[in-house]
């Protein structure tokens, strides 16, 4: 290589290296702590919401500068992992699944005294006894929303409590010329709502430790009780209870379809409450996914706000900001009204959040505040019951597969294989 060529190559290499090193993490500058904060945007959690909520938290904790990193989609976990892989793990991460990061010691737990002092279910999303995201809100996944006018048209006078009653109501709705169930099956998480409901109600309802026992290997998806629950979803398919071409309907379209009255029931997470149109507030009702024996089971998931990275340069400032953000009622107001979130702050009633909610929201919230059988919603839990690795995706895909196969046992056995793969090396 000639000297000239060497110079050119060396210069270009240094330039490229300098360009690549431009992506750096947070730091302290001019006495101010700069923290990177990964957020995400939805139609309700807009850029303006994040901007104002960050500014409000900064106002209560002076001296902190926030560099916002917006995830390109609502899949925060994949993006957070990509950032970690490229050495850019954010200092603060909004609404992630903490169990995915705790084994790598990437998160710092919140002080338990602060959690105990401020939240209704301090251990609601704890992992091995430690809380990595403040349990600010919760969801029920799924609930069954229904169109009261359609039920009346079909002559159904009360909501079903048992699986047999549910099947009978589906038949009655079809006889009245109505489509029983709306399903946005093109998006696998939405396709899995009936499967999540059936397994949560009939398996976890009877054995709340089921997921822990699955980790221990003492129960399996291929066991008869899980197969029997999954068979219920297959029955809905073979009975044509879902709308025609349900796997061709996107999640977004399914909301539109149900709001337009194209189906009588809609199994979805309680976040749908934020999408009930005002003119339908008195026409949409809600009930829990029916269990075989009629016992009431609430598939529950305690969510929360931001996790703090163990790599954050100033842990104290990071927690100060995270705590201020998490306790700000106006942030929860947006989540309650737009995302149907159920607030879990201590000593706060709905009125304290200055929210306007629908009657169906109030009915749904009664399942949270009431004393009942709350179990982890399979595929949605954020605590020790969260499933390993890619199991959530595999679980959702199994629900889609049940549209095209009678081999329910085989699909559940495949989930056991997937579980084995997902837990290898853990």
């Amino acid at each position: 290589m000639s000297k000239r060529l060497f110079t050119v190559v060396a210069t270009a290499t240094v330039t490229a290296a300098a360009l690549l090193s431009g992506c750096s993490s947070s730091a302290s500058a001019g006495g101010k702590t700069t923290l990177t904060y990964m957020t995400f945007e939805t139609p309700d959690l807009t850029a303006a919401f994040w901007k104002s909520s960050i500014a409000a938290a900064q106002a209560t904790v002076p001296g902190i500068s926030i560099k916002q990193v917006v995830a390109p989609s609502t899949d925060r976990d994949t993006y957070a992992k990509q950032l970690e892989a490229s050495g850019q793990f954010p200092d603060l991460l909004e609404s992630i699944t903490p169990s995915l990061y705790t084994s790598a010691n990437l998160l710092t737990a919140y002080p338990q005294s602060w959690i105990n002092a401020n939240f209704l279910l301090p251990q609601g999303n704890a992992i091995k006894g430690k809380v990595y995201i403040p349990p600010t809100n919760s969801q029920i996944i799924p609930m069954v929303f229904y169109n009261k006018a359609d039920f009346a048209k079909a002559g159904i006078t009360s909501t079903p409590a048992t699986w047999a009653e549910f099947e009978a109501d589906c038949a009655q709705l079809k006889a009245a010329g109505l489509t029983p169930i709306e399903l946005g099956g093109k998006d696998s998480f939405a396709a899995a709502m009936p499967l999540t409901g059936a397994i949560s109600a009939n398996v976890l309802g009877k054995n709340p430790q089921w997921l822990q026992q699955r980790y221990a290997g003492s129960v399996h998806f291929a066991d008869s009780d899980v197969v029997s629950a999954a068979q219920e979803m297959r029955t809905l398919v073979t009975n044509n209870d879902f709308e025609q071409g349900a796997l061709n309907v996107s999640y977004a379209d399914s909301i539109t379809n149900f709001n337009d009255g194209k189906a009588a029931m809609y199994p979805m997470g309680s976040w749908y409450l934020g999408s009930v149109p005002k003119n339908e507030w008195n026409n949409i009702g809600v009930f829990l996914w029916p269990s075989d024996d009629g016992s009431q089971v609430v598939p529950f998931s305690v969510g929360g706000s931001m996790a703090v990275s163990s790599k954050a340069p100033d842990q104290s400032d990071a927690f100060k900001f995270a705590e201020a953000w998490s306790l700000n009622p106006s942030n929860l107001k947006t989540l309650i009204e737009g995302d149907g979130a159920f607030p879990m702050l201590k000593n706060k009633s709905l009125a304290d959040f200055d929210v306007t909610v629908s009657p169906v929201y109030t009915d749904s919230y009664s399942y949270v505040s009431g004393t009942n059988n709350k179990v982890s919603s399979i595929g949605w839990a954020t605590n020790d019951d969260s499933m390993p690795g890619s199991m959530n995706n595999d679980f959702y895909a199994a629900a889609q597969a049940l549209f095209n196969t009678n081999d329910v046992q085989g699909q559940m056995a495949k989930l056991d294989q997937d579980w084995t793969s997902a837990t290898q090396g853990q």
Binding site: A16, E84, L100, N248, V249, Q400, N404, S421
Partner: protein
């Protein structure tokens, strides 16, 4: 008045050559550096990673030898994704080339309207894969443009599950990908057609060759190099297909349309098996390279024989 014109001092020819050479070397050097930094280096990093149990959440990793490569032999999900990708590559390459060639023959005119049509034919190639996916999702979804049109024309009695039925979803992905690539093949075949001397066609006509004979004996042989390019590029493009499928079907229903590239991302960032994902990526690269080399070898021989 006398005007004296002074010509600029002339540089010696050897000096000009030297400077010209230096400029070329600088440009080539820069290209080499960029290639090394963005292609060769990541390739070696990936190769190294494929021999470890690297996890995106952990800074350190252990050397595991060929364990990741052995794992591939027993991974049914990977086999399904690779088989689907190969089927897609094979089908899309044929369809995109046939359509591209047909379009090129039809558009091989010089007037303005044909030039506009040529631009339109190239349009699918210009649009980003993500936008293509969104547009086709709007067309193929349950209440989409296609079902609405077919229902209004009474061609079908109820909407077709273009993206919901596993087989139809696979077909839909193939159609959309072929649509995108046909824009590219059309342009390449057009360029090849325009380089064929008109005299050849005139002489053939005088000799009594009809349109079909002229196509077989002049057009097809003379566009053989273009076929080699189009077939190779189409195959490579489909082998690494990610964006269109992600937007159009998300790899569903039930992973029926999951491509090998999508599976790699899933394994790396959902299952956290970065080392294994690297091994799959290296294997996919090897398969793609072997395919491209084989196809090029066969088609080059065909070019000579035609």
């Amino acid at each position: 008045m006398t005007v004296t014109v002074t010509s600029p001092p002339r540089r010696a020819p050897w000096l000009r050559t030297l400077r010209y050479d230096a400029g070329l070397r600088a440009l080539a050097g820069l290209g080499l550096v960029l290639y090394a930094v963005f292609i060769v280096l990541p390739l070696f990093m990936s190769l190294h990673s494929s021999l470890t149990n690297a996890n995106p959440l952990y800074a350190s990793s252990k050397f595991v030898g060929l364990a990741n490569y052995r794992q591939m032999l027993h991974d049914d999900a990977l086999h399904s994704a690779v088989i689907y990708t190969l089927e897609l590559a094979f089908g899309v390459t044929i369809v995109a080339n046939v359509i591209g060639f047909a379009f090129a023959v039809l558009l091989n005119r010089t007037n303005l309207s044909y030039r506009v049509l040529r631009t339109l034919a190239f349009l699918p190639q210009v649009i980003s894969g993500v936008i293509t996916g969104f547009v086709w999702e709007t067309i193929l979804t349950e209440n989409g443009v296609l079902n609405t049109l077919l229902l209004h024309l009474h061609v079908i009695g109820q909407p077709i599950d273009w993206l919901g039925d596993p087989h139809l979803a696979q077909l839909s992905v193939g159609i959309v990908t072929a649509w995108v690539l046909s824009g590219f093949t059309t342009v390449v075949y057009l360029a090849a057609l325009q380089s064929i001397p008109q005299e050849l066609y005139d002489a053939a006509s005088i000799d009594g060759a009809g349109p079909s004979r002229r196509l077989r004996s002049i057009t097809v042989p003379m566009t053989a190099p273009a076929t080699t390019i189009c077939v190779t590029i189409c195959m490579i493009t489909v082998m690494k297909l990610y964006d269109i499928i992600t937007v159009l079907t998300g790899g569903g229903p039930a992973f029926a349309t999951q491509s090998a590239a999508q599976y790699i991302v899933q394994v790396a960032f959902t299952s956290d098996e970065f080392g294994y994902a690297s091994a799959i990526a290296i294997a996919l690269l090897a398969i793609s390279a072997a395919l491209a080399l084989s196809v090029t070898h066969v088609l080059r021989r065909r070019e000579v024989n035609l």
